[in-house]
Symmetry: C2
């Protein structure tokens, strides 16, 4: 168990210092030319203020799959350059017809993403060629569920690849993943943090949330969950409840929710560090960040001025991210970003772990 907590002398509140976390299934509502840079900036600012020093973006937005080949990657990449407050990377989405296009962008992307969500729905049959085309060394990530999940795991096995399943909600899906792991299939998975704290018992009829039984299975199998994500679930929930859909939903809730579980003895700080930093860095080959996050566990979130106020289904959360450092510089103070320029860099070809790419020194106000 890591020794990450200490006492704050002034107030005797408990504080922790975490390494910069990885938002590896980061969702942007739009990457269109008008609102794209604005949403992109908002998500990276929210992330940094919430303790995440790296964003790996999902290639599907509310408009569907937007990064599907070299051309669309370049378009998006140019669109958002100079808008990032964290380092970041993109994934390329598999579509029913782009198997021939993905190999050339593999080096410039974090992963191949196989989307089966409401924004871009694939046919498993069409994806075998993607497994053949995608470099063995690069990760593949999918949000496939039920039949699609079993089929994608079959493809993974037949092509002898590794895969990461994101946003697992169902207990049968989790059981299938655990079984596949036990037979040495190279599969990892994550659960959206919201799925650990919200269920269909809270929101009847919201089918993308776990049932109570599903949620119990997630908690019962925490050890088998390799990473924790934010993903598009908070955005889907806001949409379903007719709440304002803004960029970065769910990001600020992530750590305070997990701290509440630590407080109840259901999770450890070590677990959080492994699931939000160590494991995603390994799985997605994300460069190490020289970032630290200082948190006051006892302060109500409401007592901090959030840099990007956004809808949340949660009240009375505790755990204020008081400071974020990159290297020796303070880049975020009490939720406010105090660097003037967006100096986050895109992870592209040839970058591997232990080669930090985040811009240091960052400019201070």
């Amino acid at each position: 168990k890591l020794d990450v907590s200490s006492n704050d002398a002034q107030t005797s509140h408990k504080t922790v210092i975490l390494p910069g976390l990885i938002n590896f299934a980061s969702f942007i509502p739009t990457l269109s030319s008008e609102k794209g840079p604005v949403d992109f900036e908002a998500v990276t600012r929210s992330s940094l203020a919430a303790g995440f020093s790296f964003n790996s973006f999902l290639p599907s937005t509310l408009d569907g799959a937007v990064i599907t080949d070299a051309r669309s990657l370049t378009t998006v990449s140019e669109l958002v350059s100079n808008s990032a407050y964290t380092d970041y990377g993109f994934s390329v989405a598999a579509t029913d017809s782009n198997a021939a296009q993905i190999q050339v962008v593999s080096g410039a992307t974090v992963s191949l993403y196989l989307p089966f969500n409401e924004f871009s729905h694939n046919q498993v049959g069409a994806l075998s060629a993607h497994f053949a085309a995608w470099p063995e060394s690069k990760p593949i990530i999918t949000d496939a569920k039920t039949t699609d999940l079993a089929s994608v795991l079959l493809l993974t096995s037949l092509h002898n690849r590794r895969i990461h399943v994101t946003g697992v909600t169902g207990k049968d899906d989790l059981a299938l993943i655990i079984m596949a792991k036990s037979k040495d299939l190279r599969v990892t998975c994550d659960v959206s943090i919201y799925s650990l704290f919200l269920s269909q018992e809270d929101y009847p009829g919201i089918s993308f949330l776990p049932t109570k039984a599903d949620q119990d299975a997630l908690w019962d199998n925490l050890a088998e969950i390799d990473c924790l994500s934010i993903g598009n679930l908070p955005t889907l929930l806001a949409k379903a409840l007719n709440k304002p859909v803004t960029a970065g939903l769910g990001i600020a809730d992530a750590l305070p929710l997990l701290f509440s579980a630590v407080n109840e003895g259901k999770m450890t700080m070590e677990y959080i560090i492994e699931r939000l930093n160590i494991n995603p860095a390994k799985i997605f080959d994300i460069p190490e960040q020289d970032a630290t996050v200082e948190i006051d566990l006892d302060r109500p979130v409401a007592s901090s001025k959030a840099s990007v106020p956004a809808w949340s289904p949660f009240e009375s959360l505790k755990g204020v991210i008081e400071r974020v450092h990159i290297g020796l510089q303070t880049v975020c103070l009490e939720g406010e970003i105090i660097v003037q320029d967006a100096l986050g860099k895109e992870v592209t070809s040839g970058i591997h772990r232990n080669q930090s790419v985040i811009s240091t020194p960052v400019e201070l106000t």
Copy 2:
């Protein structure tokens, strides 16, 4: 292409001689102690009269999975002894809890059957142990569909086994099987003959029949279908339509239906022999029968006196099985079984192909 047709001099009807066929997914309505031997005898009689000289029985009846371990196999085996008009074998059904029991009966059975049908529904998660326990050399057969099928194929891949999927109806399932074959998974499959000739267009709301689109996909991919079966589909259909459920439904229709396809140029005689004799013998390691079947392709089925009259959704079929020989003996004439005693033998441990077990000579009336 095999030269199996000749002209009948007397009537100039076209006749063919086929090898004895294999009913490898043979369904018995009940194997209970009262009606079991009666149903069993009826199915073997119907089979022989319809050109099938071997029955490999499904371990699930209308009462659910009835052969699940050594004890139940012995019970059934003793119950039906001296009731068989063809040689026959049994499979053992996997249940959620009998993984430890199946290994001892593996030698005495044709295959391990993983049922996901309405008579016995498995959880895929519970079946991994069955794959581990079942001998590598013995076949595994399943009727799994959609999610269950993908999961079972995943288990097959992870355990490096071979599997046969019986009664494929859906085009997505067929596509998944074809994909898995293309990646060298050792998977074979069959389609129920009824599924080639009946669809939900004929019987709206009967979900176990293929849709018209599914059926088109079956016909478009005949080459990928390794075997043709009868299975429990005719029985399910009779039940759904409130028709009399008797033993042996669908067996008499099998060849005449396929001949109608040959007549329309949609199938060849060679295809029928491969799918009803050569391939099932290989896949299920069924001993070679010294049987021949003589058929008059042009005679209406109605002109023959069927030995076991039964409900059928089809009218005006052609193709009368005029004679069935075992060795040099005629055992069936114009649909009438002309041997007095039921001398079919059970295939048990240690019997392999090319070791004929059918009783010769059979007694004549």
